[in-house]
């Protein structure tokens, strides 16, 4: 996305405090084939899984996904055909993928530059490594200090997808625990689709403004979606469904045809369920309760 064009899209859109509540289906319909998507959370923390699930179900194509660290959802996006390219610092799925070209700081800085409205930002990371060359980074000498630095280009994705602990209908989103890069990708992106564990009243947001990570004017769609990261975790609410992920990982490891294994999983968990509650029913009440009980890590 061209720097000026990314700005113009934000300038032109209605950023007002409207009621932005909608359905997963309608929200994901905003994503066009070929779009660049930034994904909130990190590895298996606060992955906006419900939105990813719906993207795959809507048979989106040729998307580029930006995520700091990718987990199994990378396989799901690749094998489903939704993802043409992953831009990440780390990806440990089971299926064939490219090589991660960024360091975690490097990619994070791309989001921050996008959020700041500048086209690039300097760093001392990646200097002299093969990441520098494989990512095609430019060097630059600071005119004040004479220091040699790398410049990383900003990212302004078409859409950021994010799961927050609480949000109001205008899109003011609050995150408990690590915000990961969600504040930055929300501001870097031209549109934001937000799921939340719980919708709260605007007065609740105003009672606790310090924890608002994303202000409403960045957000375009809000969907209340409890367990919206499942089988990943939502900090302090539920931990990952380790048993499920363990079984999945072991199955993938053993499978001769890994792509077929993933296709099978997609069929059962993504395409067959009638809706997201149907999907959660596959994990079952006991899993939801156990991960919730263990997820209250803050006090345990």
């Amino acid at each position: 996305m061209n720097y000026r064009e990314a700005r113009q899209q934000v300038v032109d859109k209605n950023k007002g405090a409207r009621d932005k509540r909608t359905t997963l289906t309608e929200a994901v319909a905003m994503i066009r084939d070929g779009d660049e998507i930034a994904v909130g959370g990190l590895l298996y923390t606060r992955t906006p899984m419900g939105i990813i699930w719906e993207i795959i179900r809507q048979r989106k194509k040729d998307l580029t996904f930006y995520k700091t660290l990718l987990s199994f959802e990378g396989d799901w996006l690749f094998v489903s055909g939704a993802m043409r390219k992953a831009v990440t610092s780390w990806f440990s799925g089971g299926v064939t993928w490219g090589v991660s070209k960024w360091s975690l700081l490097g990619l994070s800085l791309r989001f921050r530059a996008g959020a700041m409205g500048i086209p690039c930002i300097p760093t001392k990371s990646m200097l002299g490594s093969d990441l520098e060359t494989s990512a095609g980074l430019k060097r630059f000498q600071c005119p004040y200090s004479g220091e040699e630095l790398l410049l990383v280009p900003a990212v302004n994705p078409d859409v950021a997808i994010i799961h927050a602990h609480a949000a109001d209908m205008y899109g003011n989103a609050q995150i408990f625990g690590p915000p990961c890069m969600d504040g930055e990708i929300a501001r870097a992106a031209n549109k934001v689709i937000l799921t939340t564990e719980q919708l709260v009243d605007n007065e609740h947001i105003r009672d606790n403004p310090n924890t608002t990570t994303i202000p409403f004017f960045c957000v375009d769609a809000v969907i209340e979606l409890p367990f919206g990261c499942y089988p990943h975790e939502c900090y302090g609410v539920y931990e990952p469904a380790y048993a499920h992920l363990g079984d999945y990982g072991e199955g993938l490891l053993k499978a001769e045809d890994k792509t077929a294994f993933v296709r099978d999983y997609l069929e059962n968990y993504f395409y067959k369920p009638a809706d997201f509650e149907d999907y959660l029913s596959l994990f079952g009440v006991k899993s939801l309760l156990e991960t919730t009980r263990k997820g209250r890590i803050w006090r345990l």
Binding site: Y44, S89, S92, S108, I297
Partner: protein
């Protein structure tokens, strides 16, 4: 007390290498064990940082996180900054020690966690840098923990994910990198450091029962050997007892290759 396995020995040496009051950036597994071990034994105010966003978490004994990037790694942190701000602590010089590992380490301490073979014709695709490059670039010093075998200890890494001393000599400084580079490589066979001038790997200690010959055979390049080569003090009963309590299911302290 000699019934310890290579992973246990390595973690104990990692623990001993840490000092009270240090700010330590760690990954999951052995480095985390080393840091928590040090906190409980001799470095009560050592503070851990995890890239997901936890400052000085209180990791729960018996419920160690499987990855550094999950809720268990953030438990009762004093602060939960954004990922970028965690990584920028490194760039600002606030992180005393970073722990790293990799699929390959070369004679100048460079690490590869990206790809075996070439980018164009990879034989094995690895997960990538994550925060490793940033730690290697900017932590004030770096400790590498690695299983010692010939295919890991190579003359030159296939892909330089995380900088050690690059081509040796002053090449690291010349590239403008900030951090001090690799101070120590801790393996199941011994402890290695780097020659001050050439920045080539030098064996400074072997573990009890390990010969220099064995270390050299399991290393894919010519090792320098310290004049005053030491033999590591084996783990004490106290060190081992604590360590095993930290990982009762032996999820990380497996007997074989780690």
């Amino acid at each position: 007390m000699t019934d310890y396995n290579p992973a246990e020995l390595t973690v104990v040496i990692g623990s001993r290498s840490l000092q009270d009051g240090q700010i330590v950036f760690v990954g999951a597994g052995l480095p985390l064990l080393a840091a928590v071990h040090a906190q409980h034994l001799h470095a009560p105010t050592l503070s851990i940082l995890f890239e997901v966003g936890g400052v000085a978490p209180q990791v729960r004994i018996g419920s160690l996180p499987r990855s550094t990037n999950e809720a268990r790694s953030v438990r009762r942190s004093v602060a939960t900054p954004a990922t970028i701000d965690m990584m920028l602590f490194l760039q600002r010089g606030l992180v005393d020690v970073g722990f790293l590992g990799g699929a390959q380490v070369d004679k100048h301490g460079n690490l590869n966690s990206s790809v075996i073979g070439t980018l164009e014709k990879p034989s094995v695709r690895l997960p990538g840098s994550g925060g490793a490059n940033d730690i290697a670039s900017s932590a004030n010093k770096v400790f590498i923990i690695s299983y010692h075998e010939r295919r890991r200890f190579v003359e030159k890494v296939d892909f330089l994910t995380s900088p050690g001393f690059l081509d040796g000599g002053r090449s690291r400084e010349n590239e403008g990198l900030l951090g001090g580079g690799v101070e120590k490589v801790i393996t199941n066979l011994g402890i290695l450091e780097f020659d001050k001038e050439t920045r080539e790997m030098k064996l400074v200690a072997v573990h009890p029962g390990v010969s220099v010959k064995e270390v050299q055979e399991k290393t894919g390049f010519e090792l320098l050997i310290a004049d005053d080569l030491q033999v590591t003090t084996p783990p004490s009963a106290e060190e081992l007892t604590l360590l095993r309590a930290l990982d009762p299911e032996r999820r990380f302290l497996k007997a074989g290759e780690f």
